[in-house]
Structure formats: structure tokens, C-alpha cells
Amino acid sequence: MTAPKKKLKVATTSLAGCFGCHMSFLDIDERLFTLLEHIEFDRSPLTDIKEVSPDCDIGIIEGGLCNAENVHVLRDFRKNCKILIALGACAINGGLPAQRNHLPLTTILEEVYHTSPGVSNGMIPNDPELPLPLDQVHPIHEVVKIDYFIPGCPPSAEAIWKVLTDLLAGREPELGHGLMHYD
């Protein structure tokens, strides 16, 4: 990578994710310093920036869509980022959280807040502060256009590095044997 004139702005977020994809991103270790010569972070769990800047180059999304707030954040990212990347199994196909899709939402909430052992006088939280859950978990490409996908649960640091460096170099990202994983 040769140093560009202007650093690319990269925003990241976790929707219905586990933060594992962000951890795997950090697994690029010292290469993070190299990366920071080429990019600066915008809104991200790693920064204190609250809203995505309108001139972001790359948005990286982990996690699928499980509630209304996830959808708002995702739309915001799409509006403000030139390139949107789905990072990890959850963003790509809903992931393991989508295993709730065959259960009615009310059954799940009842079980967690009413009937499970250890809950006494439980009630399903109803404060308007709280985002309403969606009836099913959805992959993010069902709501906005996604430009690139990095599979894995989580994708390995090598896979993330490969896609990012391919993109920064203007190459079409490609993962060969060993980097291509859905698990």
C-alpha cells in the first residue's frame, strides 16, 4: 500500500451482533497502525463519534437486524457511506440469532420475562426508550444495498485484512482457500 493523499473515512457498527467481528478486526494486531496511515475512524464502537459523517468512504456492519433501531442505524450508514460492507455471518444471513425466526416473538418474550425460572412478577419491558424487536431477524442486504460481504463467524483477521487491502488498492476483493469460511 502506498500512502494516499487523503485518508479514507471508515465507520463501523454492531447491530444484532456479538462484537466478535470487531474483535476479529482488531486481531489484525500491529497492522492496525499500517491501516491508520490510510484510514481514519468515523462513528464506531472504537470512537466517541455519535453519528456517521455524511462523507464516509466505507461503512462496516456486523450483526443482522433484530430491532427497529438496527434498521435506523443501517439506513443511516447506507445514506452516508459510499461503500457498505457486511462483516460476518449475522450481517450476511442473520446468523445464529436468526434461529429465533421459527418461534413467535411473543413466545420468546413470554418465556424470557414471564415464565422462565428466576423471574418473579416479570413484565415485558414497554418503555418507549426501548427499540421494538422485529418479528424475525433479517440479513442486512434485505433492507439496504450491500457492496461487499466478508463471510465468517467471525471472519478471520486475515480475511478482513485481505478484503480491506484489496479495496484500498482498488482490487476486487477475493478470499481463497483457508480465508473463505462461514463458520
Binding site: 455471518a89 450476511i92 444471513n93 434461529q99 463467524c153 478470499l175 473463505m180 469460511h181 462461514y182 463458520d183
Partner: protein
Amino acid sequence: MSHTFTLDGKTIPFAEGQTILQAADAAGVFIPHLCYHPDFKPHGSCKLCTVKVNGRQTASCTMRALPGMVVESETEEINGERRALTQMLFVEGNHFCPSCEKSGNCQLQATAYHLGMMSPHFDHFFPSRAVDASHPDVLLDFNRCILCSLCVRASRDVDGKNVFALSGRGIKTHLIVNAKSGRLADTDFTLADKAAQVCPVGVILPKRLGFAVPIGERKYDKAPISETTEGR
């Protein structure tokens, strides 16, 4: 073995009666496939083995080799269509590889890796079919079934038991267990059956054996499917 055809420009010898896929296999050339298994008659459902023969698409697992055929397989066009077919199989089922015991040993997954499938692209169906855990030694997760019918063929033609069948029409087609109750426990199925070994994906799983092989040592960790014997 006096006859030959060409596959992507390479001369492939074949014996009378062999299909294109069988001849390619024997010559060590990989053509993606999911419902074909060398021990059984071809089925022709997955269409992953599609090639172009003299300019027209056809399933190489059912098409007999003929002298002088010009066959194309590893082209951008055909691999693109194979990728789309694989994506369709992924969205039709619940393929949550991160928690699937077959991950790393699964032919569907390895084929998707081979084809460079970065995402399933289409909207998911999220089917909801009950798991059958009734059998003491075997678990069935029907949500991963790709309807290749290998278990049906193995149980009927090798084990002589007829434990499995495909039932229903269109997208409602699904695998059933041939028992009045519909439960595997009420059949004479055993782990020693051929049908217990053939599922290319994670439907028919032996109980208490999951996740025994360390990551890195599973079948397709070691080599991509195209370089694995018989592509499996």
C-alpha cells in the same frame, strides 16, 4: 478406452456408457456436484454439474459421453450459474454453519467456498421444520436438506429398508421418514446403514459425535473440494 471428448480443451478418455461426470472424475478433473455419488445412479436434481456440451447446457451427471463432444465447465458463465444455484440452496434452508456439526466436512459448504460465494445474495426462506431426535443414535435436522435423495437411494437400493422418501410438491417438497409416526425411532434404521453415511450436508447426524474433529483438520480445511478425492 478408445473414445475421447474434450473438457475445457483437455482430452478426456471414456468407456462406453460412462457419463461426462464419471469420465471427468476418472481423469481426475473436478466438476462440481452435490446429488451425484459414484455408488449410485445419478439423480439430476442439484444441477451443479451443469456443463456446456457443443454449446448447450446439460447436466454432466446424466449425459453420456460421446466421441468428439466439446465440453465447457470452468467458464465464468457456468461457474456464475453454479454460484447462483448454490445461493438458492443456502436461502431455501437454514444453513447456520457456525453451529452446524457438519461444518468443515460439508459438501454444500465446500462447493460454495470453491465457487467463491461471499454471500447467499437472495432473500432467506427461513423454513421451520421440526428436528427429529427420536432415534437413540441419530439426529435429523430437515432444515438443512438439499433434496439430493442420496439417503433415499442408499436406504432403498443398498440397505433394502426404504427408510426415507421425498414428499410434497414444489417448494413444499421435503424429506420424510417412512414410518406411520413419521419418526426415525420407529424404523429399523441404524448407524451402520449406508444411508447414515451419504448425506452430503448436515441433516443425518450421529449423536454425541459432533465437533470431535479440531478446526484445521476437517476434510475441507485441509484441501479445497476440487482437490479432494472424487470431489468429496
